[in-house]
Amino acid sequence: MSNSTLPSPGLTAFDNAPAARADKKKGGFDWGRLVRYLLLFFFLIVVLIPVYVLVITSFKGIGDASPDRAWIFPQEFIGDNWLTAFFGDDLAKANPSIGAALGRTLLMVVPAAVISSFLGSMNGFVLSRWRFPYANVVFTLLLFGMFIPYQAVMVPLYRMMTELWKYTPLTQGTPSLILLHVIYGIPITTLIFRNYYQSVPKELIESAKVDGAGMLRTYSNVVLPISIPSFVVVLIWQFTSAWNDFLFAVFFGGNPGTQAPVTVTLNMIAKGSIMTDYGITMAAAFLASVPTLLIYVLLGKYFVGGLMAGSVKG
């Protein structure tokens, strides 16, 4: 990669967050800006078209929610869809509760994302800046794990997990999912951190080495603090993929009705009957994506302001 050939920016360059790169024009109407905003709005509308269908359908009753009427407003707004989706239909048990599933899923996804981020960061650091013989081979071996065809290994994987449950019965359900997301997250988290650390000025780490700091200390005192931007990226990634994962969730999530994550619950609502109630399904789908959306809104901020700042604080 080219970063080493470029003039390595001195540390001082990082002292200030970059000034806003607003197009400064000396007087006159800023046409470029207008075009830019128009384009941004246009794409926003394009992106939101499916969301529009999702949201208006969530207010429709059974006959009303159909592909023919996808664009049309509900004949009658049925807000109850949202209540049923969130709380479930406890009395009649015709629908499981998304609300309960959200809580369970958070308990699974947060540890999964955090643990795999740390693992990835350690691996990335070792593989990029604290090298050992055959580091590239090891990196390749780890990376290749990303491509494992899950469907083909599901049956033996299930058998392996059952063996595991025999020894540690308490690990069924959530802990199993955490384990699997951590393991199958290793390749991608390692890749992202390794690429990031490659771009960190070598001097930073070399200077720590000169100070006589061992690897672990270098990692915790120098590397970790500057890793925030990558942590944001990796956390977002792992959070999203664990959150939206369906395959592992349905196989290893424990009892589908009472223990499994939100995607399984959503699928139970959407496909659990010969007749789909699209209104409740869409409301449930929207509720199921709210936590991920929140993460984007909250951490997204970090992305912008924090990226450069993050690498200075070290």
Partner: protein, 435 residues
Amino acid sequence: MRLKFIAGLAAAALALTTLSACGTPETPPSSGGGEAPPADTATQSEVFTWWTSGSEALGLTALEGVLKAKYPNVEFVNGGVAGGGGSAKELLQSRLQAGDPPDSFQVHAGAEAQDYIKAGQVTDVSALYSEFGLTTVFPESLITLLTSEGKIYTIPSNVHRANVLWASVPVLEKCGLDTANAYYATIADFATALDKCKKAGVESPLAVGNTWTQVHLLETVLLADLGAEKYNGLFNGATDWAGADVKKALEDFAKLMSFTNADRDTIDWEPATTKVLDGTAAFNIMGDWVPALLDSKSLIAGKDYLYAASPGTEGSFDFLADSFSLTEGAPHPDGAKAWLDNISSKEGQIAFNKVKGSIPARTDIDLAAEGFSEYQQSAAASFARDAIVGSIQHGAAATIKQGNDTNTAVSKFTTSKMGAEDVATLQAALVAAYK
């Protein structure tokens, strides 16, 4: 040995992650162990179904209620997983092969159960048939279809009919067709009616949905053209899939497909059937779960819509049934037996089918007295009277694999130009699938 070692390693790793997981571990579901409690103490019954929402879930809840009344010491554990994308069957298979089976699982009665029988995953329940007195209350032809080499492995809880034609009265009027009776004696007659509709300005008079509904249509055409006996022969080698009569049926199927809606591959059965209810199509051939949709639109039989046996199939009952197994190596065999007694009992079949809209497999229930709908009563009468044949799409006549291969072949066919060459390809694929 190697597996154990590896599992040990993984266990160590898992212990680490468990420590860091902040949630308290859930109570472990009943699995892994083979420690069935003695019959007189409390036990449980984990039942694996794909009924997780809507009327199916309500029916399951009703069954749970009956179980509680009959067997107060059996705790019902709902292991239901929705079937979307087939994930339910894969999960079930993984559990069975890993020695972590549910006590009883749902399977389409008939050929689909064959896979599990051959794989040694279900137990012979013939003895339970006599114990529960089922041999005389199920129709003989149903028992024949369920029997495999003299043994029966599953017990049906409910029955649906696949060969039903649904028609829109206003559209029939517009087309100038009979608005009192929607039965057509042959596929040719039906095609004539469709043609008439098209000329009257109904762009796609026959509504159909994505691949599985097309296979559903195909099986009713096969049944019409071959007749019940030859149709049943398709699955035991007596009828040749390569024969001229099958070819004729495939051509008829292509003909019918030419009257169908362009968006068929992007809609499921409900939007397809809704086309009939909304008056944009005249006909739809679909199983008798349609009434649930009709009720949601408050339509009235005879006035708004008609139903009849699908063209050319009067006197045949193309059946599909959900049934339950006693799993080989079930952790709680007593719980499983309680469940099987429950679903096959009068109370259970009444409670479940009234909610789900299907009909009981038992013929000793007075549907009118129990308050079943008019349609259900008529379907039950046909079930007791007609020649019973098994559905291809719904696993009664075709194994999972055969059903899958049929779907792929039909999908390839209906997305092609459906010319003579394509018919030949389809027929060849079907021959291969059922050889």
